[in-house]
């Protein structure tokens, strides 16, 4: 359950409608013992960022110096707030209860008489609480200053104008021969092609020449067999071309036509 407050109603307190509902009971007037100004009702108790926040709130409300906290009084108020939260069935986090215990401990230590000689060494029991409150307060302030910085999308805005032509230039990845070789070794090792596969016997240059011959030929027209050979390549080149043609024929990639024995041989690609 929440305390719901209509700010307009606060200005017109004499009016009948309930100011707030607490524990199901409608409030039609501000309680006399309320030391917090009415607008504080707008602050939901659940909006406190934990026990340190609540304590700082109590201290600020009283314009108290953080170094001069009357522990007994602050503890009493703190406990009242916890009671209020419990009445409103806010889930009370462990941190709040821990703080209550801490406050009670400080209070009891302050009440205990201290031997004169111990006084010198012993820190004031409030010191640690004050340190933590101060530390938290620093970051509360830092958060406020951070929030006040001119922020993109709220205060300043990125200026942009769409380019008329936006082409993305893509650089293809570089590859080196060693990469290629490594890839081949991997695939070959996996395929266990070595030892019994024809690759070992097969001439790479024959494979290359097979590609070249296929490119040279077309499917529509016959090409003269002799046109495939280039004398400048010498004997080895001729042998390679011849083997390439044989291999292509074996793989049924070419069609060979010879009208009669010793007549010119013609080749074309199978469609």
């Amino acid at each position: 359950m929440r305390i719901s407050v209509d700010p307009v109603l606060i200005d017109t307190l004499n009016e009948a409608p309930p100011l707030a509902k607490v524990g199901g009971q409608p409030w039609t007037e501000i309680p006399q013992d309320l030391y917090i100004p009415p607008d504080a009702l707008e602050v939901f108790l659940e909006a406190f960022e934990g026990p340190l926040d609540l304590l700082l709130y109590l201290i600020r409300r009283q314009n108290l110096n953080i170094l001069d906290i009357p522990i007994a009084e602050v503890t009493r108020q703190y406990m009242n707030y916890l009671a209020l939260m419990q009445d409103m069935r806010l889930e009370l986090a462990a941190e709040y209860l821990l703080m209550a215990a801490w406050l009670a401990e400080i209070k009891s230590r302050l009440l205990l008489p201290r031997p004169a000689q111990a006084e010198a060494e012993e820190l004031d029991p409030r010191a640690e609480l004050v340190r933590r409150l101060q530390e938290y307060e620093r970051f509360q302030q830092a958060a406020q200053r951070l929030d006040a910085l001119p922020r993109l999308e709220r205060d300043v805005f990125a200026a942009s104008a769409a380019p008329v032509e936006r082409q993305i230039q893509r650089e293809p990845p570089p590859v080196n021969l060693a990469d290629l070789l490594n890839a081949l070794r991997d695939v070959m090792t996996r395929a266990e092609l070595f030892g019994h596969h024809q690759i070992q016997q097969e001439a790479l240059s024959v494979r290359e020449r097979m590609s070249q011959v296929l490119e040279q030929l077309d499917a529509q027209h016959f090409t003269s067999f002799t046109a495939l050979f280039r004398p400048e390549e010498g004997r080895r080149g001729i042998v390679v071309t011849f083997m390439a043609v044989l291999e292509l024929l074996r793989e049924a990639l070419l069609e060979l036509v010879q009208v009669e024995p010793f007549a010119p041989i013609h080749l074309r690609r199978r469609i």
Binding site: Y81, L123, R138, F139, L149, R151, R154, A158, A159, A161
Partner: protein
């Protein structure tokens, strides 16, 4: 070929995000690449062009950004109904702690704030790319160490963390303690507080 200053203007506008000097140099083919110092002085000239205009050249952590100054927020914000997010106090306090105390663990944040930290806050901050995990503290549980990002600086218009508003200086515990003792001896009793709010 257009003037260098105008090319920079075009590129910054097309980018719509901060561009570092290196990235600005990279838009020129090697043979036409200006000197770094020339680039810098040209940017200064460009910035001067925008006096009294609807934009300004700002230098943030990731480089140079053309932006619409805050003076125009009243009109610009009417373009988008709900664009400028309002962040909760819890989120801002957490962000402040990470910004000023980085690298920091979740436990350390919780200790200063005195309250446990909701996961949604850390998630929001990470989704906005304002914070990131930069390592782990070598203690049991190896908690993640958080730090702010370059995007965080860009977003808040800062060139570096040193431009953050200064933190108020903490008071030394011994000083606090001495102060408390002194006061206690002067005024043993604090004035009573007004009546608390009862329900």
């Amino acid at each position: 070929m257009p003037e260098l200053k105008i090319i920079l203007e075009a590129v910054l506008l097309a980018a719509g995000e901060p561009l570092s000097l290196d990235r600005l140099l990279d838009i020129f083919p090697e043979t036409e690449r200006p000197e770094r110092e020339v680039l810098r002085s040209t940017l200064v000239k460009l910035a001067a062009d925008y006096a009294g205009r609807g934009m300004e050249l700002a230098e943030v952590a990731s480089g140079f950004r053309l932006q619409v100054p805050g003076t125009f927020a009243p009109w610009v914000s009417r373009l988008w109904e709900e664009r400028a997010a309002h962040y909760s106090r819890a989120l801002l306090e957490t962000l402040a702690l990470i910004a000023y105390r980085q690298p920091i663990t979740r436990g350390e944040i919780e200790e200063v704030r005195g309250v446990s930290l909701s996961s949604s806050i850390m998630k929001t901050l990470q989704e906005r790319d304002w914070i990131k995990v930069i390592g782990h503290r070598e203690v049991p549980g190896r908690p993640a160490l958080y730090a702010t990002t370059r995007d965080f600086l860009d977003y808040f218009g800062l060139k570096s963390l040193s431009e953050l508003p200064p933190l108020t200086t903490p008071r030394d515990l011994d000083v606090i303690s001495a102060e408390l003792e002194r006061r206690a001896s002067v005024t043993p009793d604090s004035p009573p507080l007004p009546e608390p709010f009862h329900v």
